[in-house]
Symmetry: C3
Subunit: 175 residues, 3 copies
């Protein structure tokens, strides 16, 4: 299959908006080898179980799953190959992990921004829009919201296509 890699696809949406399902369908339609990058950390037994079930379900459809809470850029570089599609799910969990480890956020975001246009694999990135509610009273939540919003602008700028998902429907914002 010939495949012209025009750049990343970014899928933004709220909780239970169908953003991940839409991203998975895009990847499955690509005909490429599918790699799933999970950025979430399991904090308890229930979450470990759910992650394991999702992983098994994806495996049955041909996905290989990788877990990476922090070094997203390193993993993307190691996985990069033109015959692959890499789905990153999701940016907001990555931001949460970086904040907990008190990483240098602008440096991390700049590294991802620099890497994305150089990727040979097809990259699909999922993230949660969290900035459309009332300003949170909690300072940490406000900082998180600001970091997530800044990262979304950076990733959208580097993406060939951007979708906003709501109620399971993708709305094209770019591309």
């Amino acid at each position: 299959m010939t495949f012209l890699n025009v750049g990343p696809v970014f899928v933004l949406g709220g909780a239970r908006s169908g953003k991940s399902s839409f991203a998975e369908k895009l990847a499955e339609a690509s005909g490429l080898r599918m790699h799933y990058v999970a950025t979430g950390r399991a904090y308890d037994e229930e979450m470990r179980d759910r992650i394991a079930r999702h992983r098994a379900a994806r495996q049955g459809k041909g996905w290989e799953t990788h877990e990476e809470p922090l070094d997203l850029c390193g993993l993307l570089r190691r996985l990069d190959a033109p015959e692959r599609v890499i789905l990153v799910d999701c940016l907001t969990l990555w931001v949460t992990n970086l904040m907990m480890e008190e990483r240098d956020m602008p440096a991390e975001f700049a590294a991802l921004a620099g890497l994305l246009p150089a990727m040979q694999a097809r990259v699909i990135i999922v993230s949660n829009e969290v900035g459309l509610g009332i300003v949170p009273e909690n300072r940490m939540a406000r900082d998180f919201r600001d970091h997530a919003g800044r990262l979304h602008q950076i990733v959208a700028e580097k993406s060939a296509e951007v979708y906003f998902a709501a109620a399971g429907l993708p709305l094209k914002m770019k591309g």
Copy 2:
């Protein structure tokens, strides 16, 4: 008036987004007999007053109002007739009531999903998008957000037209 019923219309939007007004205008433009299904419960005097005022205002425009906090499917079945338009306002209040009564949410949602394509009346459904803010700290609020999001995906899938309302403007997502 000939009226081709192609399926439900779903209007999703935030608080004070103009979603209900838009849905009412759609119904009023249909030329059909108008039935309004209110799913909200009045918990205090102030809310009872407001509901009564809204009901009177709609009555002046030819609406018949029905209140049903839980058995939405039963009421839709009883009201069903081809010469009618039924406006359901709104799904999130129904979800709240179901949760408070500890109903089986997937079963309730499946019943609605099964019913919608069979309706002969024109059905217009309004709901609140609540998943675009920060993850709530409260467990109940997180569960509510998950239920609402899942139901929105189900209803959007069964709908012929889906709109996202913001600042009084409807943005067509499907149809």
Copy 3:
């Protein structure tokens, strides 16, 4: 430069959605004399510093900045002239200030609605969409959300163009 003033432009978006940058670019592309109306109040040293830095950055690009927490309509009237573009950033901070001073919100909103169509200057208005998260438990936050949503509907109705910004991308809702 001939410039047909067809009416206000309204840019709505979440936190860190790129709404202000988009609005500033629209103003800078107009070729008109640029006036920036900041409605926010500095409550501490950190915010005063940030406001001063933003003001200096805009000044370098030819902007004149005005601070007005309450009397937005009075300032707009004083600044009005056909060779000018006036950017108001943002409505939600104005709503916050009006609420703190216990002003008559419907009267204030009606005054702005009456003024906008009469303006000879090009007016660009930025605001935060805050109604797409979970219903806030705090009464004041719920009232704020209701006021902001009502004002957004009023301003969108009076605007020639309305954009919804997300991840730095403007989605046209009207115009």
